[in-house]
């Protein structure tokens, strides 16, 4: 029995997580749509993530540029530094930075907010008044994290690429022309699409996981703290796993440029 319950616990949790995700998707289409809440949440998530995202993406772009630059130098393919580092930033680094910030800053705040409302019985009160908390609170939050993730991904890509360019050209004495030429030789538009698509999916997952943990804290203020902690960790695990799957699928179905 103990083995069965030990197995059933996580299964039940993931089942309920999926159920919440499905309900959220369904409730998106139910009127009245909570425009005000969406705008407020969007603004909130954006305001806590923009600055850290920009600040993280500069060194990240630089690190990739330096690393790739020194590798290509050893291989004697220095002229391809630009293309390689840009691809790495747009396809991998940028969605992951977005994921970390959306989950760590936005998701944690959402989870803490919903969690404290749950233990204060605010959500029960809402249900009692015949208002669905999923439709009223979760949907606007999940849409806000998705939207912010997509837009933030654009910002991080641009800042990351600029950072890489700066470090490659100014510090490693690469030529600007080679940087740009290799970029257009290797990169293609679908690379950007997959980056944005990843950001969209990551935003959805981060929003749903934060909402799920926030709606089900285990008793009292400490429970809310634990829930926030777990929501961030669970989101990270899910996002890195999803990133692997999406990358593998993308590399299989989209042929590299010039191949």
């Amino acid at each position: 029995m103990t083995a069965a319950t030990r197995l059933a616990g996580p299964l039940r949790q993931s089942g309920r997580l999926f159920a919440l995700a499905a309900t959220t998707v369904r409730e998106v289409f139910r009127r009245p749509f909570q425009v005000r809440e969406l705008v407020e949440q969007f603004w909130f998530v954006a305001s806590v993530t923009i600055l850290p995202a920009a600040l993280v993406s500069i060194p990240f772009g630089a690190v990739i540029a330096l690393q790739v630059g020194s590798l290509t130098q050893q291989l004697g393919a220095q002229s391809f530094t630009g293309g390689a580092s840009v691809l790495a930033v747009v396809q991998q680094a940028s969605p992951l930075i977005v994921a970390l910030l959306i989950a760590g800053a936005g998701g944690a705040a959402i989870c803490a907010d919903l969690g404290s409302r749950t233990i204060r019985e605010e959500l029960d009160a809402m249900e009692v008044m015949g208002v669905s908390p999923v439709q009223r609170l979760v949907v606007p939050r999940v849409l806000a994290t998705m939207l912010v993730a997509v837009l933030l991904n654009g910002l991080v890509s641009v800042v990351g690429v600029l950072g890489g360019y700066f470090f490659n050209v100014v510090l490693q004495h690469g030529t600007p022309g080679a940087y740009l030429a290799s970029f257009s030789a290797l990169a293609q538009l679908p690379d950007l699409y997959i980056g944005e698509f990843k950001a969209l999916v990551f935003g959805f997952v981060a929003g749903v996981v934060a909402a799920y943990r926030g709606l089900n804290p285990r008793g009292g203020p400490k429970g809310v703290g634990d829930a926030v902690n777990q929501s961030v960790v669970v989101t990270f695990l899910l996002l890195f796993f999803l990133n692997m799957v999406l990358t593998a699928v993308y590399l299989q179905i989209v042929p590299p440029k010039g191949a």
Partner: protein, 326 residues
Amino acid sequence: MGIEVIVEGLTKSFGRQTVWQDVSLTLPPGEVSVLLGPSGTGKTVFLKSVIGLLKPERGRVLVNGVDMVNSPERDIYEVRKLFGLMFQDGALFGSMSLFDNIAFPLREHTRTKETKIRRIVMERMEMVGLLGAERKLPGEISGGMRKRAGLARALVLDPQIVLCDEPDSGLDPVRTSYLSQLLIDLNAQTDATMLIVTHNLDIAATVPDNMGMLFRRGLVAFGPREVLLTSEEPVVRQFLTGRREGPIGMSEEKDEATLAGELRYGAQLSGPPGPLPAQLEPSPGLPARSAVRRRQARVRELWDELPAPARAALGAAAAPGPGERA
């Protein structure tokens, strides 16, 4: 007229711990009922089960033909609009002002104009004595005020079933009496079915038409108020007199040995109940409660099953005439 709430064979447990089992009772339409019970006997859990927030393992709760335990969420959400639930600590939305809190159900479920919303909300706030505090946030007011605001919010849609979770906790005795009167007046005006969960003896003695008590994972009794107020049941007597002697201990219940010891030393388990306190009447100027008449008819039908002290307390006036007796 209010709506009947039928509870049948309800059993709820958290993990291996049973909160109560096989609870069956009927809240008569339009009447005021009180559910008593020592702390920790699952009174709040019972309220939340009635409204479908918690799902008991067995049994059902029928409101307007909808089973609040097993029906699909959609139906339950519809029926909940008939309810007004006053939470123990108000459960106000922390980010909204009192005004917005109380206006919330109106804005969600009706297409009322803002001017009319304002009028209704102010009327309710005056009723619970909160005029002037409408711009305050729930974090800025006292617990008693939060509670009254919670009541105002529960009443704003003119619910047909009102559930109150410990309306007295956090209120001073004067405000508690006002609140008792408010509930009776409300019942006279709207004829809503009411269930009040409390362990306040004043409310229990003066407000309800019917009383029930939860103890030891079950419903001890439920019936017209006279039945419980005159009951010889040790648990009920101990609770209503607030003594230490009896089956209720500090931690839920006493063990058999302590109880036997008390009996040996001649501790009196049940004193003879004095004359019953009168039930509250609606304030002057309000219509009489139509529940009173319906309850009289019901009591007459039950007459032969009622215990003798309850019959005496009800008085000769309530007794059915010779012709009416079946």
